[in-house]
Amino acid sequence: MPDPTTNPGANPTANAVVNPATGRAPLLSVEGLRTEFPTRAGVFKAVNGVSFIIDRGETLGIVGESGSGKSVSALSLVRLVAPPGRVVGGRVMFEGQDLLAASDKELRRVRGGRIGFVFQDPMTSLNPLMTVGDQLEETLRLHLGLKGAAARGRAVELLKHVEIPAAESRVRAYPYEFSGGMCQRVMIAIAIACNPALLVADEPTTALDVTIQGQILALIKDLQRELSMALLLITHDLGVIAHMTQRTAVMYAGRIVETGPTSALLGRSLHAYTRSLMLCRPTASDTTSRLLTIPGQPPNLAQELHGCPFAPRCPMAEAACTERDPELLELAASHTSACIVAQRDGLSAVVDRLPAGGGSLAGSAR
């Protein structure tokens, strides 16, 4: 998949992004997305030229450490970044509509209507003073015009759909009466209430118990198949990526550094950063700590970056890595990487120097 931003001349008609694999316009195409937060220390470039596409019904995973810009990227799609943060560049085409150029009113129709969102912490993501029914019905009223008994009936249906027992009575419950897993089911019910074409799930299981995580992921997967939604799954957990997605993009320092089919990306990674992530991943026998730790700190995004942003922490960095800015290039079938060393020496160089750790991920079932 050629990256649109790296080859600006490849798309002469700006309005017609075509997925070469399908020959059709994708459901969502993002080009050169840039989001900034002005701070005292300078302009913090949280998302710096991110591009990707998602087809109808497809699942794309975005993986990266916290602060890599993966959540901000997702929020930027429908301009949900909280002020003072703002989307300063790029184009987001969704169902033929340019979302960054859309009016606030048009955007509100997309949010919750055509694109549903599920966030990280279900306990705080629901309004504590509204019943779960009222929160569901708010979406139904805004997008489908449902009111009264019709809305209540549909809300109960949706709660049943996300497998909440005794939905008829729980619809009147408040979030504090629910467990974390149940709250996340409610969030999912809200997100799918209007049969969206795309579900954005931002670390949907991070705040949950390990036993609940699997259930929630399975629910999302089932609903996706049933409603033929596309899914944008954001996570720091490579296991979740392996389990859930067909394609994956790896983000670092506000950029996408590698994209490819999930099995290829995890099995034969073409970027030193992705390799490092996998090295840090606990093995199957060690499920206690899931936090990714790579020595060193990500770069300060408020400063101008030169060269590969991962170079300071990279075990195989060379002079070339700090001298020029890397570009995303297709190194294997539909598999792009911005790793300067991999681009020059190929896959073997990366594999030799950084053996993948943490057991085999590709296709590992959880």
């Binding site: 937060f37 002005p38 701070t39 005292r40 002020p83 003072p84």
Partner: protein
């Protein structure tokens, strides 16, 4: 220059409003301290012939009395300057007494916990529920007006806010790992309280004290206005405004001069307090100052 001072000055330079406010408060402090030397005359020297003069730029005004004179021919500028003395002195004394008392009680309650905490917290709650200003009026009516009595009444009425703040902060500081470590290492209680807890309370207490100072100065003006506060021959802005009430319609200037002196000082103090709070509270700071654009 010590490091903390230069960093505070650095912060100050970023905020022009706060700079102005600090300058104003400093000016008032200097005026209060140096009143006998900078006031053009004796605040109580009366001049029946030259009464109710306007300010010098007005018809009938003269440079001898730059802000004019009141109904007894007393020089308004001198009275305003001496008024700053009464307000600031009473304010500082009350903050000192109530602040010390309340902070000590709050730290003890938060640190000791258990019964001590319960008793102190109950007393604080109950006294907070008292109709404070009304009781202050009552007590002053009985024990008589005057500066000393004002300080006593305000201190009795004003310690609770320090106690509550110090208590809740102590509670959270006490659970910090480094305090537990100090305790485990056998540090004495007094060392922990004065070496660790009080310094951590400092920035909150400074903010609180600034706000309270402003509040006390306002309250002093109210009580003096009502006739149970500062008494002649002492000079107070509230008293000046009370004297001006009779001439409110004919000589509004007499109200405006002490009124403006009072409002500007209190406003400047409140600006300083809100600025101290922003620079001292990292959470508030990141939330609010992230947007410089």
């Amino acid at each position: 220059m010590p490091h903390w001072l230069s960093s505070v000055l650095g912060e100050l330079r970023r905020d022009r409003l706060a700079t102005a406010a600090v300058t104003i408060v400093m000016t008032y402090l200097l005026a209060a301290l140096l009143a006998p030397w900078i006031a053009p005359g004796d605040p109580n020297s009366q001049d029946v012939v030259g009464r109710l003069q306007g300010p010098f730029w007005d018809q009938g005004g003269a440079l001898a009395h730059p802000l004019g004179t009141d109904a007894l021919g007393q020089d308004l500028l001198s009275r305003v300057i001496y008024g700053a003395r009464a307000s600031l002195l009473i304010g500082f004394l009350v903050v000192l007494v109530a602040g010390t008392f309340g902070t000590v009680l709050g730290v003890v309650a938060g640190y000791r916990g258990g019964r001590t905490d319960q008793i102190i917290s109950r007393i604080t709650d109950i006294q907070t529920a008292f109709p404070g200003l009304l009781l202050a009026l009552t007590i002053l009516a009985v024990i008589g007006p005057g500066e000393t009595n004002l300080v006593i009444v305000f201190a009795i009425n004003g310690w609770m806010v320090y106690c509550r703040t110090a208590r809740s902060q102590t509670l959270s500081i006490r659970e910090q790992p480094y305090i537990e470590a100090a305790r485990a290492a056998g540090s004495r209680q007094r060392t922990i309280i004065f070496g660790h807890i009080i310094p951590n309370l400092a920035s909150t207490l400074v903010t609180l004290a600034t706000l309270e100072l402003a509040r006390i100065i306002l309250a002093e003006s109210v009580l003096s206005f009502l006739g149970v506060g500062v008494q002649t021959p002492s000079v107070s802005w509230g008293l000046m405004i009370a004297d001006a009430e009779t001439y409110m319609t004919t000589n509004p200037w007499l109200t405006f001069v002490p009124g403006a002196a009072l409002a500007v000082l209190v406003l400047a103090m409140n600006v300083v307090a809100s600025w101290v709070r922003t620079i001292a509270d990292p959470v508030q700071r990141s939330r609010e100052s992230i947007a410089r654009a």
